[in-house]
Subunit: 286 residues, 2 copies
């Protein structure tokens, strides 16, 4: 039995169809598993509730570092952080000086991919859907460039403006028309990490992507991934990201709503792009 | 200066827009390059003509083994053979017991991919567009199954019939609707080598592909490739494939038309699926 501790149920965009699932931070109240004892702080797959019985303890991680906000374990230090890390470093194999494009770049994953790209010596541009988010990308997260895709009548032209010599790495969160605009702008031997396709989830029929022939023309590798395949790298990830947070080399923005009753509206807001930064639901304070 | 020798100008499907390009076998008549001398047999990028001046000698390979039909160097021992080898072994990393699907399976590349898959202990099914080709796949090339995609009203159902547990490796030659049917049938950690998308080349607007979200759901890697990146493996490839041909472990079928004047019709025939096996144009005998 666990009690939610500084709140933060992760709104799991991969599982929008199963509303009780989510990622959260919790305190162990009672445990029959020797790996966890009363008082331990954990993060992992929980549910949208104040008290949970968790049987799938394989996907619970014990929290050892508490000198950062605990809500970070629903984001930068949890599943979205590992997603950004695995997708960028493991799937995309970035090299210094390469050009990186991130869509949905102000979200929990995108904001980290952009900052990892800068730490790796890459040139990085992100897109988002409001002026506020675009400002955040440039002023807070250190992206080299950012644009509001809703104000670009021609996505291809926008990409050519920011990437006159093409894109080496595309971190794909969006799908549909955006992917179609990106494909002809990829450079030879480019890589596309497919993390999600949020623009497509609520369509009856997903949009067609017409430019896949560029995978051959530009010899591009496009790879879908799920973070669960990479959890064995969690220790290595923390070793990199914890010092970077403490030294201020990585910034993190959360959009916190209070109370479990605010969760459904916050979830719907994700699909309308209303959140700025990682969407967190604060269920209860200690 | 080279003269075409047992003929065989390769009709290069990647370069259908530049009609004078092609792959052929030729004899050197005169050479200013110390790597080649009069009388050498070579294969590589030539042109649709009887005599050629070839300046791009980097893409010419000297022929050392002449105890196989020389026309094989336009196919199984040349660019298409290396394409099948690189795409299957290098891009798809096959493992024994995996399931493999090949579209346009009776073509120069597909027929070899299927046979490589069998040599690697895989289960392999191919599709083609006529009964004659489907028979060839099953009876001559040893595919475990084959179907005529034109006679399948529901491609998804056809794939489920042959792959009830899904597809580990898809060797993509076709694109469009076929790719859309394949994506939901991929297994977790499946690989798609994108060699070509012949169904799309002559469309004004390529068909849209709607099921790319399965790249994430099934954690699939989809990779476009061009054979030129893999030519450094040519020696290794010959070591494997020459003995296999001589021992009868690999079969090869060509569709030979005679005379350079037959080349345009043969090229058009490729797009209508009229060729059976590798399309070769015999320009001249010794």
């Amino acid at each position: 039995m666990t009690k939610r501790d500084p709140g933060a149920s992760y709104i799991d965009s991969f599982n929008a169809g199963s509303p009780i699932a989510g990622f959260g931070v919790a305190k162990v109240l009672e445990s029959a598993n020797p790996k966890f004892k009363q008082g331990d702080l954990v993060w992992g797959r929980t549910a949208w509730e104040e008290y949970s019985t968790i049987t799938a303890t394989d996907s619970l991680f014990k929290i050892h570092n508490t000198d950062v906000p605990l809500s970070y374990y629903t984001g930068i230090l949890g599943m979205p952080g590992m997603t950004a890390y695995a997708g960028f470093y493991e799937v995309c194999s970035p090299k210094k000086g390469e050009t990186v494009y991130v869509s949905a770049a102000s979200g929990a994953v995108g904001q980290l991919v952009g900052q990892f790209a800068k730490l790796s010596g890459c040139y990085v541009v992100g897109s988002a859907g409001t002026k506020e988010k675009v400002d955040l990308l440039k002023k807070k997260f250190g992206f080299d460039g950012a644009f509001n895709y809703k104000e670009e009548p021609d996505l291809d032209a926008a990409l050519k403006r920011f990437f006159p010599e093409g894109i080496d790495i595309y971190f794909e969160n969006v799908g549909g028309k955006m992917l179609d605009a990106v494909l002809p702008n990829m450079r030879v031997h480019g890589r596309i990490a497919v993390c999600g396709m949020i623009s497509q989830y609520n369509l009856e029929q997903p949009e067609g992507v017409h430019n896949l022939m560029y995978l051959v023309i530009k010899q591009v590798r496009m790879e879908g991934f799920l973070v669960f395949d990479y959890y064995h790298l969690y220790g290595k990830f923390l070793e990199m990201v914890l010092p970077a947070i403490k030294e201020g080399k990585i910034t993190y923005v959360e959009d916190v709503v209070e109370g479990l009753e605010s969760a459904p509206a916050a979830l719907i807001g994700l699909f309308a792009g209303r959140n700025v930064g990682k969407q967190v639901v604060l269920v209860s304070r200690e």
